[in-house]
């Protein structure tokens, strides 16, 4: 495996030394570009109390291109699809090399607090979120309880 760029080493060290509250990101033992991530559901959101597993991969040309991030834990959210793919501008066309793993994960956590059904990735979820927000939030809470609170 080719040498790891200094930037990735630094980011990893800083993530360990000054972890972001509510977020843990640990590099895989065999691949320093692959991170096991856990994000806690933000307070006052339907995801509160949940622990959401994600995977984050730094592509070869990182930081010139964005990290690839995906939810592994099932989540009921209009901007996250069944496969866990996330609709977030900074992961696509609004990426900038001044962003970091830390800022990406904070943005994902913020997306949980502020679902945006007008820019959907999961169409059925977004639709319900628009026509019956109360029911959508109930579903999100139920999924959080069912998939993000098991102790395993």
């Amino acid at each position: 495996m080719a040498a790891l760029p200094r930037r990735i080493i630094k980011e990893t060290q800083r993530l360990m030394q000054e972890p972001v509250p509510g977020i843990s990101a640990v590099p895989d033992e065999s691949n320093a570009r692959y991170f096991h991530v856990i994000v806690t559901g933000p307070e006052d959101s339907p995801f509160e109390g949940g622990l959401f597993k994600l995977e984050l991969f730094l592509p070869e040309d990182y930081p010139m291109s964005a990290p690839k991030v995906r939810f592994i834990t099932k989540i009921y959210h209009p901007n996250i699809d069944r496969l866990g793919r996330i609709c977030l501008d900074i992961l696509k066309d609004k990426w900038s090399p001044a962003l970091q793993i830390r800022t990406v994960l904070l943005s994902i956590q913020a997306l949980l607090s502020a679902p945006n059904p007008d820019d959907p990735l999961a169409n059925d979820v977004a639709e319900l979120w628009k026509v019956n927000e109360a029911e959508a939030i109930r579903n999100a809470k139920e999924w959080t309880q069912r998939y993000a609170m098991e102790d395993n």
């Binding site: 930037r7 901007n79 793919r85 609004k94 900038s96």
Partner: protein
């Protein structure tokens, strides 16, 4: 935002598949402090996106676009990082792109918004997007239009 539905699902379903078996293309990341002369700069540009297969088959239009982009970037001022910079603290102590400390003698490129980066780091980015990595300001829209719409 938007367009997420259109982006075809080339995302690896398990990102572990992307475990790096990359070989030669690390060199760009590794040498952020590399010193080089202005006039040989274009040698360092890799084509945006970085897919080897695409690189082989650039159309003439694409090649012209790249050449214009290089021309534009070279209008942005370069200075050497000096001891004064280091002491004044007006210039940040590290490059936001490679996260390495600026070292006296490093070539620094100034963008119109006055953000500074290593020349090699920011040029690599500007070939992909003519925006400042830190503030997202377009790198001189007027220059851009005069160059790219010729």
């Amino acid at each position: 935002m938007g367009n997420c539905l259109k982006s075809t699902s080339t995302d690896d379903l398990t990102l572990l598949n992307g475990r790096s078996n990359d070989s030669a293309r690390e060199s760009i990341d590794q040498e952020p402090n590399l010193q080089f002369q202005d006039h040989i700069q274009p040698n360092f540009y890799s084509v945006a996106g970085g897919s080897n297969t695409v690189q082989q088959s650039l159309t003439e239009d694409e090649q012209i676009k790249i050449a214009k982009r290089i021309g534009l970037i070279q209008h942005l001022p370069i200075t050497q990082y000096t001891d004064e910079n280091f002491q004044s603290k007006k210039v940040p102590s590290e490059c936001d792109i490679c996260m390495n400390d600026f070292v006296v003698g490093d070539s620094i490129r100034y963008l119109p918004c006055m953000h500074q980066y290593h020349v090699l780091c920011v040029d690599n980015w500007l070939m992909r997007s003519l925006t400042c990595p830190s503030c997202c300001e377009p790198v001189d829209a007027s220059l851009l239009s005069s160059f790219e719409n010729v």
